[in-house]
């Protein structure tokens, strides 16, 4: 189809909200201070697993400067109830017990009490004054221990969901199964079968801004919360349930957010700040330390995945099967389901079966990390497929092309794909000079693919026309990555005015209609749809105003380049009416012009990707270095290519860190040994080459500008791309991440 010519879509304007960010004026979670403000701190469990016999807060309350102390006794004891549409399966009872431990502490760092005091140092001293009587229990620190017959039980009332007649206390929270056909039959037809087991470690999203919140409460029972969050409406809804309030009693104003990647889509200390402010009648500020962020906020699951794939000699996949075990942390709800659904999604498979297990153990409750559960699943699947292609003697891209999902292919989780661009990413990778560039000694090239559904969910937006014809786009999704300018560009395209005349702002829970959180790569897609609809609403109103002035039928008025054009033969041959003039005359023609739209967005187009990674391996030290990285991703249509590339480059960098060096290290008593950026080794600038993001545009037919979500797919392929490259460089198949130098050197040495 011919590429439609757009004025702004596809260009790279400067984001106006960027000026505050490069000058330090932008206000993040911890930047707000209010008069009379108290400081809140959380007392955290020194044990990974213990029963709480009693908590004596009196000594803390007696400390001069301490104004309030709260424990789980100050929160309603909620019954178990699933949270609809949470980023990973969540239960309000679990959520409440993660905010403040009730009866038991379930991980080292688990919140036990919270104090509010006139200074940070007094609050910290008050924590030491709280007496907690713990009955220490044996800690469950790995999947084997959790699933052993005699395993210490975290939750006496937990029964395995998805297993017939499960009525015994267990740490196995759920068993799931997806797939179709008969995998045994498929494997029987295969000439070559590869079966391997892969493990990955618990890792953290690693956002640089620690969680921060300020809460203030009035005598009318209404609280206002400023915090860094991906979902202000989520914070409102979850805090209301945890505190036994109505959502209308809480207003959440999102600050700028210093990174989230799925980890700031839930709540931790926000309810505590609200509760402490209601108890003291004063604003309360709570800012986590980096150590608290690591110990007590959502990492993603460590996993063990056994994969089996079979193909005919001609390279046709006949069957794929997997058994995947995911750590959920202290409460049920790992991303085992999305992980299992996406594992083989890029491929045509008549026989596919994935059995998944969600396992609780004494570690922090996991939260979403970009495409939840998918990077680990792709590490296993794409490594096994790499080995299969090699044993078939096939080029890894040709092998994937021969089995690639296209429009109409049934996904492993059931439905047929609509218009998707996986084949286009594979072909682009094959054509690209990187794929055939020469490699030096001890270097290797690996490829891997990845997929994420992308979601729609609910969005509301408004476009307010100012009296000078400029516009303000109001949306309710915090801007993690440049979505304000992206929304403004779509509005400018619809209104036909220069981008400089459109500003975009993020509203709060009392100044915009309901919005789901900024996650699921949905903002440009779903909120974008609402903004386009709201802008078209403005155009309809402007056309009607022009029609009224010209006394013609509004249907006959056309809108182009920011002007209303009269129908031929209109009385008096009137001149076109520009947006500025119509806005200026709005008072005479009916009043202010406000466009609005709200929707439950459907038809979120999945995002596929193919990545090429070159590594060099120092055989004497085991160090793996990334030499070159190119990522091809079907982005539907890139509204602002700069920020789409940024999502891909950032996701690749996170994936490389996950593959090479990031991991939670635990001591024998279940405390994290590296809760800081020194020994939780995220990539620094000098660790990475430039990351070449190739935008493949196969427009998503269900979006006015063909948009697909782009934010989550990028961290799915890199784990396997790096591991496959290391295999190509060393001839060794690595099945356990991270590929740290000691682990690589040990493997290389055992070879000689």
């Amino acid at each position: 189809m011919s590429e439609p010519r757009y004025k702004w879509i596809g260009t790279r304007p400067i984001r106006p909200d960027g000026f505050d960010k490069v000058t330090g004026r932008a206000s993040f979670g911890a930047d707000l201070s209010l008069p009379g403000m108290l400081y809140g701190k959380v007392l955290r469990s020194p044990h990974a697993h213990a029963r709480i016999r009693s908590i004596d807060v009196e000594p803390a309350l007696a400390t001069p400067g301490v104004k309030a102390v709260v424990t789980a006794a100050d929160l309603p004891d909620l019954a178990s109830e699933a949270v609809r549409g949470a980023e990973t399966q969540t239960d309000f009872q679990d959520l409440s017990r993660n905010v403040l431990a009730r009866d038991k502490v379930l991980y080292h760092g688990h919140a036990v009490a919270a104090v509010a005091a006139t200074s940070r140092t007094i609050a910290e001293r008050a924590l030491q004054a709280i007496r907690v009587d713990y009955e220490v229990l044996p800690a469950v620190l790995d999947l084997d221990a959790a699933l052993a017959d005699d395993a210490p039980i975290l939750h006496e009332d937990l029964r395995t969901k998805g297993v017939e007649g499960a009525d015994q206390p267990t740490n196995l929270a759920a068993r799931i199964e997806i797939g179709r056909g008969d995998v045994e039959k498929g494997f029987a037809e295969a000439d070559v079968v590869v079966e391997r087991e892969f493990t990955t470690r618990m890792v953290h999203q690693g956002y640089i801004e620690p969680h921060a919140v300020v809460a203030q409460s009035g005598e009318d029972g209404h609280s206002v919360v400023w915090c860094c969050t991906q979902g202000p409406f989520v914070v409102r809804a979850y805090c209301a349930r945890i505190l036994g309030l109505d959502p209308s009693q809480i207003r959440v104003i999102p600050s700028e957010i210093g990174g989230g990647f799925g980890g700031k889509g839930t709540i931790y200390q926000e309810p505590l700040a609200i509760l402490l402010s209601r108890r003291t009648g004063r604003p309360v500020k709570m800012v986590m330390t980096r150590e608290e962020v690591f110990r007590a906020t959502g990492p993603t699951s460590g996993t063990r995945i056994r994969v089996k794939v079979g193909a005919t000699a001609k390279g046709k996949l006949t069957a794929a099967a997997a058994t995947a075990i995911y750590e959920a942390g202290a409460f049920k709800g790992s991303p085992i389901l999305p992980g299992s659904m996406t594992m083989f999604a890029p491929y045509v498979l008549e026989h596919v079966r994935i059995e998944g297990f969600d396992v609780v153990l004494n570690k922090p409750k996991v939260a979403a990390y970009r495409a939840p559960g998918s990077a680990m699943a792709a590490f296993a699947a794409e490594s096994a497929l790499d080995e299969l292609a090699i044993r078939l003697g096939m080029d890894p891209i040709d092998f994937r092309l021969a089995n690639a999902a296209r429009e109409g292919t049934e996904a492993p989780y059931g439905p047929r794909f609509g218009r998707i661009g996986f084949v286009e990413t594979l072909e682009a990778a094959k054509r690209h000079p990187h794929y055939t560039a020469a490699l030096g000694p001890d270097q290797g090239r690996g490829i891997a693919c990845g997929f994420w559904f992308n979601v729609g969910l609910q969005s509301s937006a408004a476009v307010n026309l100012n009296e000078d014809g400029t516009a303000v786009v109001v949306s309710g999704c915090p801007d993690l990555s440049g979505t304000r300018i992206t929304l403004a560009m779509m509005a400018a395209e619809e209104l036909g005015i220069p981008i400089e005349r459109v500003r975009a702002v993020v509203a709060d829970t009392e100044t915009i209609g309901y919005n789901d959180l900024s996650a699921g790569s949905r903002v440009t897609f779903a909120t974008g749809m609402a903004v386009v609809e709201a802008a078209r609403d403005v155009v309809r109103q402007l056309s009607a105003r022009a029609a009224a002035i010209w006394e013609v039928d509004p249907q006959e008025v056309r809108w182009e380049e920011g002007r209303a054009l009269p129908p031929e033969g209109a009385a008096g041959k009137p001149e076109p009416l520009g947006i500025a003039e119509l806005a200026r005359r709005a008072a005479q023609t009916g009043g202010p012009i406000v466009g609005q739209a709200s929707l439950a967005a459907r038809g979120a187009g999945p995002g596929f990707a193919t990545h090429i990674c070159d590594v060099s391996v120092d055989r004497e030290t085991g160090r793996v270095s990334i030499e070159r990285y190119t990522a091809f991703q079907d982005v539907g249509r890139a509204i602002h290519p700069g920020y789409v590339e940024g999502q891909i480059q950032g996701g690749v960098a996170q994936g490389i860190g996950w593959a090479l060096g990031e991991e939670y290290l635990w001591n024998s008593s279940g405390a994290m040994e590296n809760p800081g950026f020194l020994d939780y080794r995220m990539p620094v600038a000098s660790d990475l080459p430039m990351i070449d993001a190739q935008l493949i545009e196969v427009p998503n037919p269900t979006h006015p500008y063909g948009v697909r979500g782009v934010g989550e797919t990028p961290n799915v392929p890199p784990l396997a791309a790096v591991a496959n490259a290391v295999h190509a460089a060393t001839g060794r198949r690595f099945t356990d991440l991270p590929l740290s130098p000691p682990r690589v050197l040990e493997a290389l040495d055992s070879e000689e």
Partner: protein
């Protein structure tokens, strides 16, 4: 603990403040002087979000004590732009879409300025090693390095 009176210079202007000896320069900037542009990411000198230039030296303000500032001068992100124009680094960060969430941006711009003050014509590798003390989790560093190289060229008069 009694507070100590300190006289120092921040972004070229004299300031006075009271602080406990254990208060870091980061806490003084943010809590006493209201300059919240300098950010805290770790408080252990490992993320660089609190970078400032202390008497011409790039440092982490979380690992400097407020009381050490007596008679010394510090430049923060708020002092990088001139009254009416952005510094070339700030402009290029915007033009290259090198800013996503922006929490690391103040520290990175201050660190890049200190780098270019000492080395006006750095190679890509020199930029990457010069900024290795500033963690960024959103961008993968690509566009940040390009923005710094572009700003360096402009500041050398070769655009």
């Amino acid at each position: 603990m009694a507070k100590i009176h300190v006289e120092a210079s921040v972004n070229g202007e004299p300031v006075e403040f009271l602080c406990e000896p254990r208060a870091s320069l980061l806490e003084v900037l943010r809590d006493e002087l209201g300059l919240t542009g300098t950010k805290e990411g770790c408080a252990t000198g490992e993320c660089g979000a609190c970078s400032v230039i202390l008497d011409g030296r790039l440092v982490c303000s979380c690992l400097v004590l407020g009381v050490e500032m007596e008679g010394r001068s510090v430049q923060t992100i708020e002092g990088i732009a001139s009254a009416e124009r952005l510094h070339p680094l700030q402009q290029k960060f915007l033009e290259h879409a090198a800013v996503q969430c922006g929490i690391c941006t103040p520290g990175l711009i201050v660190a890049a300025k200190a780098l270019l003050d000492h080395n006006p014509d750095p190679s890509e590798e020199e930029v990457r090693f010069g900024l290795a003390g500033n963690l960024c989790r959103c961008t993968g560093y690509d566009k940040i390095v390009r923005a710094v190289l572009d700003a360096a060229a402009e500041m050398r008069g070769q655009t």
